[in-house]
């Protein structure tokens, strides 16, 4: 039996992979890889770390899917120590022409998904009197760039959710924190051409994009015993943009 059980949502994406790998570097940790439609990268991780992680089919937008996922985790591990709400999705449009579906889908995945996740794991964490919740917000929550009204609103909502929930459960030994990555070199930036990448990097004081491992390190830190007095914090990981 592992000493610690972690659930990472959006575990098939670049950031989710890096976060899962960071936790798998701890010998005594079992990582549940929350995946939805695509599972190829998560399956590769299971091959790399046999017996240390497992896929969990999870539609973060559905409360019933969360209930099933938590039941599956508890059936095997009888505990859940860390939830990383990483599943995210963006669909950029100017607000004047944004389809309602783009607004609703982005809010559903980025904000409602984290809400359902927190509700699903809290009874277990309250019962354990121990737990860590780490929400992947975004620098967009703080900068609100044009073309991202939906994504920025969802991530700003996630920041507020983090701070409010942190106060609610602080005395139960449950911490709730968020990280706000800026430009991170994952598949999400793949649509940029060389010129756009160069222009974006010029805006960053460090003059480079972040690496997924650099975000993962902050997430892992927030889940470690040394971070036990940090709650309601919003940590930006942006190379100095803000």
């Amino acid at each position: 039996m592992s000493a610690r059980t972690v659930l990472v949502t959006g575990a098939n994406g670049g950031l989710g992979q890096a976060i899962a790998r960071a936790f798998l570097a701890e010998q005594d940790t079992f990582v549940w890889l929350g995946v939805h439609v695509r599972q190829d990268a998560a399956a590769a991780l299971i091959r790399d770390f046999p017996g240390r992680c497992e896929c969990l089919v999870l539609d973060v937008t559905q409360a019933s899917s969360w209930c099933q996922a938590v039941e599956q985790i508890l059936a095997r591990d009888h505990r859940l120590d860390v939830l990383v709400n990483n599943a995210g999705h963006h669909s950029d449009h100017l607000l004047a022409t944004m389809p309602l579906s783009a607004w609703e889908e982005v809010l559903a995945t980025n904000l409602h998904g984290a809400f359902h996740g927190c509700q699903a794991v809290l009874p277990t964490m309250i019962s354990q009197r121990n737990g860590r919740i780490i929400n992947l917000a975004s620098l967009s929550a703080l900068l609100a760039p044009p073309g991202q009204a939906n994504y920025a609103a969802a991530k700003a909502g996630l920041v507020a959710l983090t701070q409010s929930l942190a106060k609610e459960v602080a005395r139960l030994n449950i911490t709730v924190n968020a990280v706000c990555p800026g430009f991170v070199d994952t598949g999400a930036l793949a649509a940029m051409n060389a010129e756009e990448r160069k222009a974006a990097q010029a805006m960053i004081p460090m003059r480079r994009f972040g690496r997924p491992e650099e975000v993962a390190a902050a997430v892992r830190f927030l889940a470690c015993p040394e971070a036990s007095y940090i709650t309601g914090s919003i940590i930006k990981i942006d190379g100095g943009i803000l």
Partner: protein, 88 residues
């Protein structure tokens, strides 16, 4: 099944332990209100913990806020709800 008196004792001990109350189980009256004036002084986070504890220890699931208000009124009300659940 517990008799009503020992069930109430279990509930009181569970409250003292889970909510880290600064009173002993013996000091909690069966009909003492849990919330509001003249009560034990519990708040909404205590209520959340009680809901989780009643589910964990007795399998009593309280999903409706209205039902929670009734059941978490005092130890008597919690004991009745638990007995009904155990008898079902």
């Amino acid at each position: 099944m517990d008799d009503p008196t020992s069930l109430k004792e279990r509930i009181k001990n569970l409250m003292v332990e889970n909510l880290m109350l600064q009173v002993t189980a013996a000091e909690i009256a069966d009909d003492q209100p849990l919330f509001g004036p003249g009560s034990l002084g519990l708040d909404s986070v205590d209520a959340l913990q009680l809901v989780v504890a009643l589910d964990k220890h007795f399998g009593l699931k309280i999903r409706d806020p209205e039902a929670a208000r009734e059941i978490l009124k005092n130890v008597n009300a919690m004991a009745v709800a638990v007995q009904q659940k155990l008898a079902a």
